[in-house]
């Protein structure tokens, strides 16, 4: 009975109730959507880290990670490999040799980690091969008589393997892509020019184009001027098994592009057999085994099993390898909750005001109800219910609309590419697909109900203080 009355009371002043409801809807919608975008970015980062960069579990010599000593290989690698493969829940495993070295081209050099892999095994564990930039080659698929290396886009730019140039064919293809002739004319002076780096290319092109032209055609021009000579060369130098300096010329097999700039700069993949020849390691000497699991949820369980079986090795799961990643996932949920609480606190002011109005406006009516025998508890309950209903209607609308908005944007994602450099330097993707778990909606709903109850206390107390005799006399 009270429930029904409270519900009906809300709709006695439709406009006023709607203003509160809409403000709650917008607050909740904005809050949830903002959280979904942040959460999407973080989940993508974790996902990318697990699928493209580190995988789920690593196994190596206990001292290996301290200094990447080339001598610290895994003993009885064959046995270890088969024991891992036979562990239930393990999807795939890849054995790697990992050494530190330096990559040089004619003009530039950079330090990097050189990882020797078996391409077929590696593909089962990490999905890095799927990120090859079209036109730059492939993941060791084409046969070659040269030694091949698979490198990141950031490193390729650093080493001047990727360059920017403008020539006749670039201008022609730009014309074909409907770039107006005025813009092409401005670019013509650059014909035949090779730019030293992405930065100098950007600067020079920006110098001749107007802001509007940059905005409209910048991306297309950059795409067409991007140049990469197939099978470019670079020299890798490192120390061999006996601490002697060694090295060889490698050709680029392909260039990968992921959202983590630091990883792109530092990881060079080569074939195990090539690395073995140069370092003097034997065929079955590996430094590291990386493991992919069937199910991410079983990480703790399976790493415990592996730790028991391979007690002489160091077994680390992704949470231990990248504690920041795991910690961030934990911390961020707290941050989301704080954010929602702040929004709800702001909403509470509006609710309190409205409910206070409701009480003052109905002084006579409330007096009458008490006079005919409605006890104080029920009056309190009625007002509280009105406040909760008001908040819930707005809250549910906010949740429904945000869910719709999230699923609408989740397909295509939201592009933040104008900030791409900043995002990628932090290891976040610039193209974000918003996502949020169902449990968050439940948390929000609970928070809304609490807000409704809390913001009704003051108005309800006001109602209780009314003296029925006095109240009946008011107009």
């Amino acid at each position: 009975m009270i429930w029904k009355t409270a519900w009906k009371n809300i709709w006695r002043n439709k406009v006023r109730s709607l203003v509160v409801i809409i403000s709650i809807t917008i607050g909740i919608l904005g809050g949830i959507f903002a959280v979904a975008v942040m959460n999407g970015a973080i989940e993508q980062k974790v996902d990318a880290a697990l699928n493209e960069e580190i995988s789920h579990i690593h196994i190596n010599d206990p001292a290996f990670r301290d200094n990447y000593d080339i001598q610290l290989t895994i003993p009885n690698a064959k046995q270890v490999l088969s024991s891992i493969e036979n562990t239930p829940g393990v999807c795939a495993v890849s054995a790697r040799t990992v050494i530190t070295g330096m990559a040089n081209t004619a003009t530039k050099s950079a330090g990097a980690q050189i990882v020797g892999i078996d391409p077929e095994m590696e593909k089962e564990v990490l999905k890095l091969h799927l990120t090859t930039i079209p036109g730059t080659g492939d993941f060791f698929e084409t046969e070659s008589r040269y030694q091949l290396a698979y490198i990141g886009e950031a490193l390729a730019k650093e080493l001047n393997i990727i360059r920017y140039r403008i020539d006749e064919s670039v201008l022609d293809s730009l014309a074909a892509r409907e770039v107006p002739t005025e813009v092409l004319k401005k670019l013509t002076p650059f014909t035949g020019h090779r730019f030293k780096s992405e930065k100098s290319f950007k600067k020079e092109v920006k110098g001749v184009l107007s802001l509007k032209e940059q905005h409209e055609y910048g991306a297309v021009i950059k795409e067409e001027a991007w140049s990469f000579r197939a099978r470019s060369k670079m020299t890798l130098t490192f120390l061999d098994k006996d601490q002697m300096q060694t090295g060889a010329v490698f050709r680029i097999a392909g260039i990968y592009n992921i959202s983590n700039g630091i990883f792109e700069m530092s990881q060079i993949l080569v074939k195990n057999e090539d690395l073995m020849k140069l370092t003097g390691l034997a065929a079955n000497e590996y430094h590291q085994m990386i493991i992919r699991l069937d199910n991410l949820e079983t990480t703790e369980e399976i790493s415990a099993t592996l730790k028991e079986n391979l007690n002489e090795m160091e077994v680390m799961n992704w949470k231990e390898i990248q504690p920041q990643l795991a910690m961030m996932t934990d911390m961020i949920t707290k941050f989301y909750a704080i954010f929602m609480v702040i929004i709800l606190a702001a909403l509470a002011f509006g609710i309190v005001n409205t409910m206070l109005m409701v009480v003052l406006e109905r002084t006579k009516e409330l007096g009458m109800l008490t006079a005919i025998g409605m006890n104080k508890k029920r009056v309190f309950k009625m007002i509280m219910l009105e406040s909760v209903f008001l908040s819930l209607v707005g809250g549910v609308m906010g949740i429904v609309i945000s869910e719709a908005l999230i699923s609408a944007t989740a397909r295509k994602g939201i592009n933040f590419s104008s900030y791409a450099e900043g995002f990628e330097a932090m290891g976040y993707p610039a193209h974000i697909y918003p996502v949020i778990s169902t449990s968050f909606f439940i948390t929000v709903t609970v928070l809304i109900i609490i807000t409704g109850i809390l913001s009704s206390i003051y108005p309800a107390l006001k109602a209780l203080k009314l003296d029925p005799a006095e109240a009946l006399r008011t107009e």
Binding site: G111, A346, E421
Partner: protein
């Protein structure tokens, strides 16, 4: 004047409502100002760290060096240029540097490092590397000593284990990390300082010897007195290789730099790369460092430098960081936008109630001859007064907090500090002093209120007196 008086009195007819509405504006303004202050403060702090420990505000470089950081893109260090630069009114000192990359190794451990040839005496004007020398270090041995010291409380021993391998450039940070409050500091710190002290030597021009970043030294497992080997490519593609004794460990507040930096005396570094008398950059220490002063200095200096040199500003040299901060800034602004939207609706709700309950009153006033225009202006004043109360109160309380915060930045200690450090952040929250961001927040609130007044205006001007009287 009369209108204002009327508006003011009207406000207090329903005291509670006025106060609650003002309170909601207070909440928004207070929260927005404090949040902006912390955001801007932390950006400034990060920029200052980057500028003061690495790039400086302005550098003169070979024109291709920034795009292609190779030893060939260097210029001769000549007195003429230095004199001209020093003649500028805003240039305090010129700091010559030779910066390049090399492969550093210690036995089997190898890593690509950033080699920086510096003149320690001149560096005092800018990066002040000497202050960044590690004075205390919690090595496993030190922790063992701390564990065995009977005079130290259990809590300190626990925290010492948590901070294993941390390095400190001063004792106050060490004290905070170990959770020792100021009262007990004089009693406990001397003992801990003797346990943890780390003795550094200095590097001088002409003497081979290096300083190594704290993280890099841990990675390469090097300590003072050990030898580091540097291999790289020198001037005109010669081979550059050398062995140097480590004289000291420095802790740079930028983790990305800390894990790869090696400082060499300038001339030793030039010798390593076979580039005697050459520089990759000449950093300038500024007297005035506001954005405007810097921009003007850049303009003046650009006229002085020769054709194959160029002047770089700190924003260009810290491009990635600037773009990161911009992305973060946008995120914060979106959050505030949502908050303001919510508050705007609250204000609108109040306006709606005000109008509805006074419909009859308005009718009577107009019927007895009050101009609608005057009525509208009273209404507007009421709303502006409500928001003004909120804005002023919010700004006042926020200012007290911010002014206090500017003087006393929030410094975290113990376990909380560890969390910050694990993220590569300084466990410190810095406030940005009262500034133009105040104006923008207030303008937003005022705009919000003006928008919500549209509704009662329409009601008043479209009012039919007869209908209103009957309400």
């Amino acid at each position: 004047m009369n209108n204002l008086k009327l508006a003011w009195r009207n406000l207090w007819r329903n005291r509670r409502r006025t106060l609650i509405t003002s309170a909601s504006i207070f909440f928004a303004v207070f929260f927005a100002l404090v949040m902006r202050s912390i955001q801007l403060g932390s950006y400034d702090h990060m920029y200052k760290n980057a500028i003061e420990s690495y790039t400086g505000y302005i550098q003169v470089q070979h024109k291709d060096f920034w795009d292609e950081k190779i030893v060939d893109n260097t210029f001769a260090y000549d007195q003429q240029l230095e004199k001209q630069l020093l003649a500028d009114e805003n240039v305090e000192a010129t700091i010559p540097r030779f910066e390049s990359f090399a492969l550093a190794s210690n036995g089997p451990q190898t890593k690509g490092v950033l080699v920086m040839g510096v003149d320690p005496a001149k560096e005092v004007h800018l990066s002040n590397v000497t202050d960044k020398l590690v004075k205390y270090r919690l090595t496993p041995k030190v922790i063992e000593k701390i564990q065995q010291d009977p005079n130290l409380p259990e809590k300190v021993k626990e925290l010492a284990v948590l901070f294993e391998n941390s390095a400190y450039t001063n004792s106050s940070r060490l004290q905070l990390d170990l959770g020792i409050d100021d009262k007990k500091a004089s009693e406990l710190m001397p003992a801990i300082e003797t346990h943890a002290v780390y003795k550094n030597g200095s590097i001088h021009l002409g003497e081979p010897g290096v300083w190594v970043g704290d993280k890099l030294s841990q990675y390469l497992q090097l300590g003072i007195g050990d030898t580091i080997v540097l291999i790289s490519q020198g001037y005109h593609a010669t081979t550059a290789a050398g062995k140097y004794e480590i004289k000291g460990i420095v802790k740079i507040p930028l983790p990305d730099i800390d894990n790869k930096i090696v400082y060499l005396p300038l001339d030793v570094c030039q010798g390593l790369f076979n580039a005697e008398g050459k520089l990759t950059s000449l950093a300038l220490a500024m007297k005035e460092n506001q954005d405007k002063a810097i921009a003007q200095t850049v303009q003046r200096i650009s006229a002085v430098v020769s054709e194959n040199q160029k002047v770089m500003e700190w924003q260009e040299m810290n491009e990635v960081m600037v773009s990161q901060m911009e992305a973060d800034d946008k995120g914060g602004q979106i959050m505030l936008g949502i908050l303001y939207l919510v508050i705007a609706f609250g204000v609108f709700g109040t306006v709606l109630m005000l109008t509805a309950e006074r419909k009859r009153e308005f009718g009577v006033l107009v019927a007895i001859g009050m101009q609608k225009k005057k009525l509208a202006s009273i209404m507007t004043m009421e709303m502006l007064l409500i928001s003004l109360i909120g804005i002023i109160a919010g700004a006042l309380v926020a200012s007290i907090l911010i002014l206090y915060g500017v003087e006393h930045p929030i410094i975290f200690k113990g376990e909380t500090a560890k969390i910050f450090e694990d993220y590569g952040m300084e466990p410190k929250m810095v406030f940005w002093n009262i500034d133009t961001y105040y104006i923008s927040q207030m303008v937003i609130v005022a705009f919000m209120v003006l928008l919500s007044i549209i509704y009662p205006m329409r009601k008043i001007f479209g009012m039919k007196v007869v209908n209103a009287l009957r309400a």
